[in-house]
Structures are given as C-alpha cells and as structure tokens.
C-alpha cells in the first residue's frame, strides 16, 4: 500500500516544478533580428543546418536537467526533454546525425554563442548577456 501511495505521489507532482522563462540568443554578427518558431525548432532538431545567408547554423543545447531546457523543449520543440531525447536516439543510432552539444550553464551557452558566428542558444531571461544578441521568436 505504501508503495502505491509513493507511486501516486510521483505521478501527481508537477513535471518541472521550477520553470524559468528563457531568451533565444545568437551571435551579434548574425543579421537576423527575429525568427519564427519552426526555424528555431528545425535548427535545434538539425533538420535545418543553415541560416538565410548560407552560414552553418550551430545550435547549442543546455544540460538535460536544466529547467530552462524543459521550458524551451515544451514551448519551441513542442515536446518534453525525454521525447526530444528519444528523437535523437532515433537519429544517432540509425546513423543520420548527432545532437547539438550540451552546455553546463547559461554562461557556457553565452560564451559559445559569442565565440561562434553561426551559433544559436537559449538561456534564462535573468542571465547576464555579454557578447550575444537576443532574438525574438514568433
């Protein structure tokens, strides 16, 4: 009975208790000022690999446990982090590609985006944004 109660509690607790809002960032050299949600999603799922000016798109993800990743996945990719991982397992083990690299923190994402002209990432909206450009996503 105790086991059933524990399972019930696990099932009813919210999936991501500590949700944070996020902003999408690109390198300041990137001429884009706004992107539609599908372009961002296709970039992070590597269905799209180039910007409008033909430069390589370099998405950078956050670590799987980051609350900002959970929110980004839900709002931009329309899937949970676990579901996106299943998507990447399909790609990786059938030999069709590899997922974006994962950063350990907002600061690491900002550094990567600042240092790579084609990079795109997302960080908590409270993060200190040096050397990157926030882009609006519709």
């Amino acid at each position: 009975m105790r086991v059933l109660v524990v399972i019930a509690l696990l099932l009813v607790q919210p999936a991501y208790a500590d949700e944070a809002s996020f902003v999408v960032i690109v390198n300041p050299k990137n001429p884009a000022t706004k992107l539609d949600k599908k372009t961002v999603a296709d970039g992070f799922l590597k269905k799209r690999t180039r910007w409008g000016d033909d430069k390589a798109m370099q998405p950078i993800d956050q670590k799987r446990s980051a609350s900002v990743r959970a929110e980004f996945s839900k709002r931009i990719l329309d899937r949970s982090v676990a579901s996106v991982r299943t998507y990447w397992n399909q790609i990786v083990f059938s030999g069709r590609g590899v997922p974006p690299p994962e950063a350990d923190s907002d600061e690491a994402v900002i550094t990567y985006v600042a240092n790579n002209a084609g990079a795109i990432g997302y960080v908590a909206s409270t993060a200190k944004l040096d050397g990157v450009k926030v882009i609006s996503v519709k």
């Binding site: 269905k47 799209r48 799987r64 676990a82």
Partner: protein, 399 residues
Amino acid sequence: MAGSGGVAAPILVVMRFCVSVLGVVALTGSARADDEVEPPPVEIHGFVSQGLLKSTDNNFLADSERGSFEFSEFGINFSRALTEQLRVGMQLFARDLGPVGNYSAKIDWAYLDYRYRDWLGFRAGRIKLPFGLYNEISDIDAAHPFALLPQSVYPTNNRDFLLAQTGVELYGFKRFEESGALEYRLYGGTIFLDTSATPMTGPFVLQRLSIPYVVGGRIAYETPLEGLRVAASVQRLRLETDFLDNRDPMMPGKMLSADIPATLTTFSAEYNHEDIWFAAEYSRWYTDVETDDPLFEQPQSVSVRGYAFAAYRVRPWLMPGAYYAVMYPQLDGRDKQSGKQHDAAGTVRLDINSNWILKLELHHMRGTAGLSTNLNPGETLDTLDNRWLLFVAKTTVFF
C-alpha cells in the same frame, strides 16, 4: 557465405578495435574550461540490451516456451564531421536471438554523408533502409516505447534482409512556411546476406541467397498540425535463391533455383506531440516466384500487414503503450491459423535513469503465421497452438 557487409569476426576483435578507437579519441580530445563547449572530435554512442522471452505455448524467436535469455544486442557507433557538410560514421552491431546472431559482429551501418544543402544530401556506404516510419530504429530500444515493435511490419527475424543496404542514397528536407515540410529519401544498392547465420533444416536446404538489387524511397509530409506526419514508402528488390532438395533420402540432393522479385509498400501516419505518440501503418508486400521447377510455381502473392499503436509519457521515467498488429503472409490463405497473426500488446517503458531503460511487455497472440517450424520441430504451423501469450522483458543501457 559471409558477405562484405557482414564481418565474420569474433566480438573480441571488435571490442579491441573499439577500445583502440576510444583510446585515440581520448588522446585527441582537447581539454576545455568549464564554461567552454567543445564538440567532441569523434561522437561515440552505444548500447547493450538483454532480454527475456517467455511464451505459454509455441517457441517464438527463441526457445521461448521454456524461457530464453537468447535475446541480446550490442552496438557501438562512431561518427565524425570532417567538414561542415561532410560526415563519416559507422556502427558495429552484434546480437543473439535464438538460433541467429550468436554474437557475430557486423557492420550495421557505415557511410559518408555529404549534405550539400538541407534540401539535398548524399550518402554512400552501408545505409539503413528508410522503410515505414521505424525500420531504421526497429532494434534500437532507446528510440521507441516497445520491446518488440509490431512484428507484422518490422519482423525481427528478417533484420538481415530488411535493415540496411549497401549503395547510395539521396535525401533532403524542405519546409514550406505554414504549409508543412517534406522529408524525402531515395536509395539504391544491394543487400549482402550472411546465410550461415540463418540455420535452415528440413527437406530444402538453402545454398545461396542473394539480393542483387534493392531500390526504393520514402516521402514524409509534416503537416501544419504540429506533430502529425504522413508517409509513403516503396521498396523493390529481387531475391535469388538456390535450394538443395533433400526430400528423397535415398537420392542425392537436387539443386533448385527460384528468383523472387518483391515490391513492398507501406503507408504511415504518426502523431507525436508533447508526450503523446500515436502511429499506424498499413503495408502490402507483393512477391512473385520465377522458377523452372513446377514445385515452386505459384501466382503472385500479396502479404498484408498493419498495426496501430499508442503510447503516452506519463512521467519522464514512465511510458506505457499498447498496439494491435495483424499480419496475413498470403492474403488468400488468411482463413487458416497459419495464415494470420494477430498481436495485441501492452508495454511499460521505465527510464530508470537517463542511460538505462527497462521494458515489460505482454502479447496476446492469435494465429501462428509469425512462428517458425525450425523452432517448433515436429509441428506444422497449423498444429501449433492458435492462441498463446508472450512475455518480453528487456533492459538496455545506452549512451
């Protein structure tokens, strides 16, 4: 007969190779500060699976009636981006599934991939076949909810025939603003088969089995409804076979030949949005037999297969699912129990952590078309039990 796609090498050799590559990767990997992200020079991913098959009656895939752990898979892959557009990769795979596999390591896929633009790319090498929605991932536990994908469309014991081809592929992806997106793939090549891994006994003993060509394609349309895509696949191949006819034990065996051109089609629909996952596929396989021997002459046969599945990720670590699958190997013979296989399955996928999953699955089977007389000696498909249960447990570690 070992084809060039199958490397008949002990797994020890493969593991030595993997360790060597891992060593090279470790040496070439650059140190990085905590706030720097450096994609690894070589991406390495792998998995190890161990399963259990237990059936109430009939042996399925292995000696399942007794209960069998001969249901193991190992895979490790390496890939590297040489330029922004050019990537190379390979996966080594070994399995043991009842009488087949026996841990003989094979090159599962190995390719060079040149992505000219998103709408046009090119692959050459040994490439997994994009047939239906899930053929490429049918044996990748981490990539779907089930321990056994619907066997009507993705028969595990046909893995060597249907999984990969050696040749070339053109592929692309094109989004049309608000109107959705198209993903398309066209391929052609041949399939190398290792018949030594497919034991065959009885009055006809397989001497040669080759597939000189396979061509096909798949087009998938991502609809404007988020998560919904539909797809159509077609595949044309030719099997060339030689059998030794041993029906008369008093006479030396007589060689028989039969060529089997086949056309396989599948229509698919999938809805995968947030944590909901539905899919349904309908498949028709057309085969002819071309032979001079009247014994094998038969009109074109049509095999019909299909399934529908649903799965829902209740929690990040818990995903129950269910499917109903049906298979008629020959549309004309579906009245007999040997002419059909109905499979109602329920599964639970538990993600114990981000690298370890456990699947528990129960199948209620009706019909015997998916069974093998090699695994059920002394019986015919019509004398085996018509209704039977199959329990599958499978655990996989992957990275």
